[in-house]
Subunit: 288 residues, 4 copies
């Protein structure tokens, strides 16, 4: 993989399972001079669905990118594929929604700055002013959009305008404490990643650490998932847990949970940005 990142691309495809798909895709890439670095493929025998991720090098492409794109589209059409081609030098623009907790926000900002998350971060939106100094530290635009029962429609319109104006392609809810409307979510389907501070489906809804404390569980978890119209029920991208015990107060669970939330959310965002996640039904295929 000695070619520069600007010469690499990723193709994500899914379609009803049929024979010949792997060969057709390999052939079209090879035929145009694209060299496959990594290929991962999965067939779900129950859903009869085919999924593949191809990561390849374009530095010795024998045609131009437009020609390659058209050839891929032809294969996609033949097999009834959804396909998504992304050139690695075209990084996504990401917005972060927060409220008052700063741990996930700091974590994402630091990872982006260190190059661990391949994206631009042009926008932070919050319903509270508290984290504006953090945004300023990292020179990211901060927009305060207060949300109340009364102004919810206007607030979401303002948020959507900001996302649209900034050309945002991924929205990360980094412990954003407001529920987005079904309309907002469906207008951005598959492009909103939320972190929930429990091992879903356990302890969905509010105050999961309190629920975990009451139930006396011996592990606490965190779940990163795509937002869907129904709260906490979207497709799960990543989960992890950490051990807890009778010694842990709710404050201890909150503290332990913060580390989990940061890591689980960052992993999910990274998987998405590297085009490793495919959604089908209410589930995900994660090629990691």
């Amino acid at each position: 993989m000695t070619s520069p990142p600007s010469e690499r691309a990723t193709l994500l495809v899914s379609c009803p399972d049929r024979r010949g798909i792997v060969a057709a895709l390999a052939q079209v890439l090879y035929g145009h001079g694209a060299n496959i670095f990594d290929s991962d493929q999965h067939t779900d025998p129950v859903a009869a669905q085919f999924f593949q991720r191809l990561h390849f090098d374009l530095s010795e492409l024998q045609t131009d990118r437009g020609t390659l794109e058209r050839a891929i589209s032809e294969v996609a059409e033949r097999f009834g594929m959804r396909s998504e081609l992304r050139y690695q030098n075209r990084v996504r623009r990401v917005a972060i929604f927060v409220s008052k907790y700063d741990h996930c926000l700091y974590d994402l900002l630091l990872r982006q700055r260190s190059g661990e998350l391949s994206c631009e971060l042009p926008l932070i939106v919050s319903n509270h002013p508290d984290l504006e100094p953090v945004a300023r530290q990292f020179s990211v635009r901060f927009e305060l959009v207060p949300v109340s029962k009364e102004n919810k429609v206007e607030a979401e319109a303002r948020q959507q305008a900001l996302l649209s104006e900034q050309g945002v392609e991924l929205l990360v809810l980094a412990r954003y404490m407001q529920i987005l409307s079904a309309d907002f979510v469906s207008g951005f389907a598959g492009k909103i990643i939320n972190i929930h501070h429990s091992f879903l489906p356990a302890f969905s809804g509010g105050k999961p650490y309190h629920q975990a404390y009451e139930r006396g569980v011996k592990l606490i978890g965190a779940t990163a998932h795509y937002a869907s119209a129904v709260l906490d029920e979207g497709p799960i991208i990543e989960q992890d847990v950490v051990r807890s015990s009778h010694r842990d107060s709710i404050a201890d669970l909150v503290r332990k949970g913060r580390d989990l939330e940061k890591v689980v959310l960052a992993r999910a965002v990274r998987l998405h940005l590297e085009d490793r996640v495919l959604v089908y039904g209410n589930k995900t295929v994660v090629f990691d």
Copy 2:
């Protein structure tokens, strides 16, 4: 800890929190010549409850065991304690209930035989004849007690008679696929350990691996808990998880889950047999 196990004992106490408890217990043991090897203590500030486990040596006891017991009872009464004193040479008698799955049964039998579980295993009860050969391999009495909607009352009476006749002090449900009645459970409260093949409270009830598959979780779990009148809601003793992915069919989840179930159940049984678990409300204190 060079004294023989026969000269050791464990004291488990719980009571409303008050000052002076630790000193009083330490004093009564020291005063009688018992030497504390290990002591673990916990105060739940929310429930205002005190818990302690003391493991001590009796080899240089200056009085007899009866005198020590009376002295402990006096302290217990003074502080309104529930207390339980167990001499290590008095191992518990354990029964196992199974249906058709053999993995947890084999696991418990092998651990008991290797000395890892300090108990006697005089009885295996099943509603199916399939696992009788396993019982025979390990020379454990096997009783077939078929259970149906019609004979449930008689079946439980038969089971209770067997437990009573064998002096059973702990009942392990090793993937026993029948629901015990509330009466049966309350008659054996805090002495029935069940293994549920999910990370409770997620996926309680039937077919948890199917539920996990449908939801697309990225970890599957197992939970060992004391049985209570309400199914899958008893106090949790131990839990663990293992990673799963889109590649796992339900059969894969079942296979991965078997390893979890064995280990989680065995840990819980071991913790109970070593008097490391205290129940309060619907939660446990586990001194591990």
Copy 3:
């Protein structure tokens, strides 16, 4: 994946990285009517090596197996590939070497009997008679081959004769406490899996739990690896760890370690039997 297992096959290939490999393999399978279920591929950019595992269905093969094999061989030759094709109905014959510890032996026997390990188990060899009853319980031939400094050469000759006579294709060292000679190992290269009871390369050599205890580590591990001429230095297939603390005596480490050893060894054997492991240099590619 509704075709019967008898109609499936796995192809494992590795070769110097070149463009067109993926397309050529996909094409040859597709061209003969083999339908790819699962394909996983990896390119090591440092070693400039290409690796791929293809799992496919033969139920609609348009030619016969011999023709397909010849076509694959031609591709393999063209790209300088090592390739291995295995029909799923041709399960491997596996021998287990043990000494006195029974936990890994029982574990493998139970997993094989439950169908979790797709193999035949025709032979158990030990340098001690202790585990013969276990072999008998599972109706597996048990051969006692005592080993001493004096008879080592004859003993290994006897072992090799047994393996050869039984057509053994995989040898599992399930806590076998003798060191095999370099000759023995090289005669069975890549076909001997050993379990070492530490997180290699930490605590190689003898008494790893004692070493771990002395060093005061907070985790203990187990490592399954292919045997190589140099003790404990062969390619690692699988590793895992479990938490330990100052409370753990050496006996506790041994007990905790047993669970690790069983699981790690079983996973490695399973990965090998499902043709998911490729060795290169002193490392492995594991397509799991």
Copy 4:
């Protein structure tokens, strides 16, 4: 635990094992009106050493702190104890040494600011100027002390002067890439915590991720330990691991390792600051 933190204290003791220690300590605290919240005790039967941590409330102390301290000293003398009493309102002053990596530094600064680490952070010392802006963001004094083979003695003298001037009681090496002299370390024995980016004792010394990559391990680790005269051989406080695979380049290991390093170092620092760690020989007792 409704008393304010200012009214709490922790007592850590260790001594040769003898009978009556637990009773004597409980008695002295009770007798002065100190109420024990939490007590954890351990006896190492091999080393014949006794260890205890007592966390207690002083809000109803019947004497003054000086009297209590003298009473504890008398018990300590009687049993040949090392003892350390710390009032919770007297937080430690901590210095951080760094080089160029910022992830552990940011992590510690954020945790301290959020109240997760109970300490003051008056000083950051580095041999490079790169991280000065981070120090400034958090308003912590930054001192550049370049280190070379030639000026090592002077540089360490300058570092010691800074630590002394600032009254530093704990020094955290947060990926500080210089080796401290044996003199420096012994002058600060048990008060320097280092993070090593491997699962020690595997991959001690330089470039552990490169070593891990070469060896092809399936897990990578991190170890927080007290610095000792011999590099990477001091008493281990905390370790953890994360799964790796053939897909991970060295850059991937570095990235995954960063998350481990942060969490493992922060846990160790927290355990130390809460007086949960006792060193004996080259090992630790960690009351967590």
